[in-house]
Amino acid sequence: MLPFLGKRLLQLIPTLFFVSVIIFGLQQLLPGDPALAMAGEERDPAVLEQIRRQYRLDQPLHIQYLYWVGGVLSGNLGESMRLKEPVLTLIAQKFPVTLQLALMAIAISLAIGVTAGVISAVKRGTTVDYAVNALALWGISTPNFWLGILLIFLFAVHLGWLPASGYVSPFEDFWLSLQTTILPAFVLGNSFAAVLMRHTRSAMLQAMGSDYVRTARAKGLAEPVVILKHAMRNALTPVVTLGALELGTLLSGAVLTEQVFSIPGFGKLIVDSVFNRDYAVVQGVTLITATTYILLNLLADIAYVLINPRLRN
């Protein structure tokens, strides 16, 4: 395990270098002038020149890249042109928000998706199976922003049970934090739950038809033990991989959901930064997201091996 871990961690270095070149390069292809975007409605040429000088936008691209990479290696991701705050500070503010939302969404989708997938597989061909499949189809087809707005009108405006939007940190007020994040987490988790349900169902059906499950039944084990201890263990491996990939996607920011619920997370930050050509923020956030994604994949591979001992060799 340790050599495997060491090798994967070493692979991070060339991967991140390649990612940094891609991030930097792609951003330069975006049309639009960041100095113009930042100057807003006032267009004094001297002000524009000063902005370009301050943020090295007047330097050749390779010099700009080297300055940025040099800063990254010393722990400085630069400063937001628009918000005038260090990018690391912004990431430290937004990442916990997005992390909380992502973890809640994954928890909801696992709870709904895996449970529904197992039930659907066990009750294959029955009304329960058809009903669960129909729900899964609805979950995949429903646009997040539409569902979000509907839930706001139902739970906030008509019933008055939950706040319409906004975010409160769990360290400020745990219950209020739960109230502000349950709806967006459900919206995010809903479509992934449907995907998980389909995968879990297929994996369970495959596992339940295999020889070792037949042997377990032949040994006289109770059906719940056969399903939960034997069949589900094998069926969970694709779920782990999917879960890790989805967590990575959610951590890069659920743009539409954050927009609808006014959650100050990564998604909102990166969208605003792209529209305002705030290069330092886009580069910093994308680099952090890429690193997190790679690490999550590594964790998924480790979990895969831990769940299925046959893969340890």
Binding site: E42, R43, D44, A164, S165, P264
Partner: protein, 346 residues
């Protein structure tokens, strides 16, 4: 804006993060993209007339969600409600409206001399710009896109502004005259025009209405939806023929005219240049009374409205909606929220 010189010198370019001024509220904190918190400033000269202790600004970009927050009671006030939401707000007894015409305008900027892209019939011949303007029914545009709530306009200030030149009223649609002008300008078939449109639902809808109306007069409008920052760059480089662009507006009419019509001014995207207009714009800056300045602007209007480069369309309404428990709020055309004198009932 008057700021504390000591705080400004100490903070330098970071002053915007913790501003220190002398108004009715003082800055407490800002969490980027989440909230700005202000508290009542006891040292304000009119503090006895400030009845709100704390203000929290929350940025909510989605207008439907803003309204939902107001209706649910999570917010006491929202700004820039949509014109299409006005009937719903009016029908809700728990809500009140405060509206005022904006200082700015929405229009189509024509590339007259910014670049080679302006060397087209549309950019070179004022008769064609006039024909385009006459092909549009400004009242219908505001009726269809904004429930009739916005003000049709044809100048850089709204018809409610004291500097509005009543000698040049908002023109009614005249398709026959538009066709006649096109014929006189030598246009025989549909005239293709590239119309660059910033990507937001309002401007896209208005562009489609313009496309339909102008099509009846002999124009073939090609709508090019462009992301806003990109469209600014395109306009700077002169890579457009028509550009749907608004201006937030300034209190003084100079702020809506000078930078757009003066030769080589920073916001003169059309590349317009007329030495006489330059002289009159400078003259308006030097005069001290409204009648004198208005007289100078009348000369500017006579030239600019006939030659382009901006075909003015309408002026928005600043729409503030608030809880009926809020008393005494008066909206201002600059769109800034002023809470002196405002009371919130329990």
């Amino acid at each position: 804006m008057i700021v504390s010189p000591k705080a400004a010198n100490e903070a330098g370019d970071k002053f915007g993060l913790k501003p220190v001024c002398a108004g009715p509220f003082k800055f407490v904190e800002r969490v980027q993209q989440d909230r700005i918190v202000l508290e009542k400033f006891a040292g304000y000269w009119n503090a006895s007339n400030v009845h709100v202790d704390r203000v929290v600004f929350r940025p909510i970009t989605e207008s439907t969600v803003r309204l939902a927050n107001l209706k649910s009671g999570s917010l006491e006030m929202i700004e820039r409600a949509l014109a299409t939401d006005l009937p719903e707000i009016r029908a809700d007894a728990k809500l009140k409206l405060a509206t005022v015409p904006e200082l700015g305008y929405e229009g189509v900027t024509v590339n007259i001399g910014k670049s080679d892209a302006g060397k087209t019939a549309f950019g070179k011949d004022p008769r064609i710009i006039q024909a385009f303007s006459l092909s549009l029914d400004r009242e219908a545009i505001t009726r269809v896109a904004f429930n009739g709530e916005f003000l049709p306009g044809n100048q850089w200030i709204s018809p409610k502004n004291p500097y509005f030149q009543s000698k040049f009223p908002v023109p009614k649609r005249d398709v026959a005259k538009a066709k006649e002008l096109l014929r006189a300008a030598g246009v025989t078939g549909p005239l293709a025009i590239d119309l660059m449109v910033p990507n937001n639902p309002e401007t896209r809808q208005v562009a489609e209405i313009i496309q339909a109306m102008a099509g009846e007069a002999g124009f073939d409008i090609k709508i090019r939806v462009t992301e806003f920052a990109t469209s600014l760059k395109e306009a700077e480089e002169g890579r457009y023929q028509g550009y749907m662009l608004g201006w937030s507006g300034r209190v003084d009419p100079d702020g809506n005219a000078y930078m757009f019509h003066r030769t080589n001014a920073p916001l003169n995207y059309g590349g317009y240049s007329n030495p006489e207009v330059d002289k009159w714009l400078d003259e308006a800056r030097t005069k001290g009374t409204l009648p004198e300045r208005k007289a100078a602007y009348e000369k500017v209007a006579e030239k600019v409205l006939s030659e382009g480069p901006i075909v003015y369309l309408y002026h928005r309404l600043m729409i503030i909606a608030h809880t009926a428990k809020l008393d005494g709020y008066k909206p201002m055309p600059d769109g800034l929220i002023r809470l002196t004198g405002v009371k919130l009932k329990p």
